[in-house]
Symmetry: C2
Subunit: 256 residues, 2 copies
């Protein structure tokens, strides 16, 4: 991994509300220009999942959802709206844990996440009747943003789409990368020597998750005022990667 | 959580090797002064676990370790040095998983972590005969650094001691906070309203872990050249916290 001198994370101010079908590249480009940030090759933009999902119109109207018997059964266990559970199941490969107030699934994209990442907060005044799913293909969404921003600015940026996930063992959510383009998701340090020539073991570093966490700090969590963060100073060891590289193969996972 | 304008993470250059019993406050203070960084109230210093453990002389000489029958049994399962396994067990409350190449324990401090955080990399040319344990009480270590730096600079800094932990479900290690002083470890957003007045659910944010991850990016992983990172711009919502607040109560954890 390249040595880093200093890392600067700057949220884009006054980011507009993004409606369904909104042009996210245009909005980001306008905010970047207004901010006076000097965008350079290798800089990274971290974009909150929610605005990507909104732009991609990943809303589901709950009154139109008919819960299956399985959704009704899980809704009773988890004390959730059966229509919401139906939406969660439609996004999921299988259920990992279901107990009161908790429904953890393996998302069809491979993420293990509560409620399949389906969200009801910050969706507007009628939010109880709508849910917002993760982007259909967040790696592709990230690549779309990367390509669009390359057209706008002529520079090669990394793009991370982040979300806040809970985790076993430790309290609280942290930012994680659900979509990656233009930078590596992980850096495999296995086989490299430490400063005394001893081979490092078990040191695959989840770079994109660490950047996603750093950006979450700057975005804030209580509202969506700052859903895009510019990251300067990250000297990427390679120009491409995919968030799927962050998924632990289920057969190698001792905890599901 | 306070709104953040911009976050800047700067590693301290030319940090010296820390020997057993070394004065970490003096070393950090000297490097901060040499760096020209303007240290202010509310800034955070993230300090790599390894240099704290070294300064606290948390080394164990493996030739002096006599493995117990239980350590020998687990060493066979995990294909590790039985003396190292004995050290790991002496640091642990209990074993969470033991399979070939993997020994995950609940550390006596509550962290669920591979090998109880006991490390053999970057320990010097004779590292195979030594192991380095986590600090005995990392929250207390962080508080000691905070108090010492307050004496040196007259400002109230936050201090995080970080380490790199693996996690279930996702590949790669991320920086986590194992010691915290002078800033909150978690921010509890439960009960606060989103921008549409809807109550946010399940939003305890692991602030200290997110800062620890951000700092890990800047420290690098392949050597210890940059084990201290200065973080400016984090407007702390409260001046105190403990890393123990980041531990999920075992009774509420579905994955151990």
């Amino acid at each position: 991994m390249a040595r880093i001198r200093s890392l600067a994370l700057t949220p884009l101010a006054d980011f507009p509300d993004i409606g369904a079908g909104g042009d996210l590249v245009a909005a980001i480009a306008a905010c970047l220009r207004a901010s006076g940030i000097d965008v350079r090759d290798g800089d990274v933009l971290v974009v909150a999942q929610k605005i990507v999902s909104k732009a991609e119109n990943r809303y589901v109207d709950l009154p139109r959802v008919v819960p299956s018997p399985r959704a009704i059964e899980l809704a009773e266990i988890t004390r959730k709206d059966p229509r919401l559970v139906e939406v969660i199941l439609s996004e999921s490969a299988h259920v990992v844990r279901a107990v009161p107030e908790v429904l953890i699934v393996e998302h069809r994209l491979g993420f293990v996440v509560a409620n399949a990442g389906v969200d009801q907060s910050n969706l507007g005044p009628d939010a109880t009747e709508r849910a917002l799913c993760l982007p259909a293909d967040p790696d592709a969404s990230a690549e779309g943003l990367r390509a669009g921003l390359k057209r706008e600015f002529g520079v090669s940026l990394g793009v991370i789409i982040n979300d806040s996930f809970g985790r076993p063992w430790r309290l609280g959510t942290v930012g994680v990368a659900i979509g990656v383009a233009g930078l590596p998701a992980v850096a495999d340090m296995r086989g490299r020597a430490d400063r005394y020539g001893r081979t490092l073991r078990a040191t695959i570093v989840a770079l994109a998750d660490e950047i996603a966490s750093a950006a979450s700090l700057v975005m804030g969590q209580a509202d969506e005022g700052q859903p895009v963060v510019h990251v300067a100073g990250f000297a990427s060891p390679a120009p491409h990667g995919r968030a799927r590289a962050l998924l632990r193969p289920p057969g190698e996972d001792l905890f599901r």
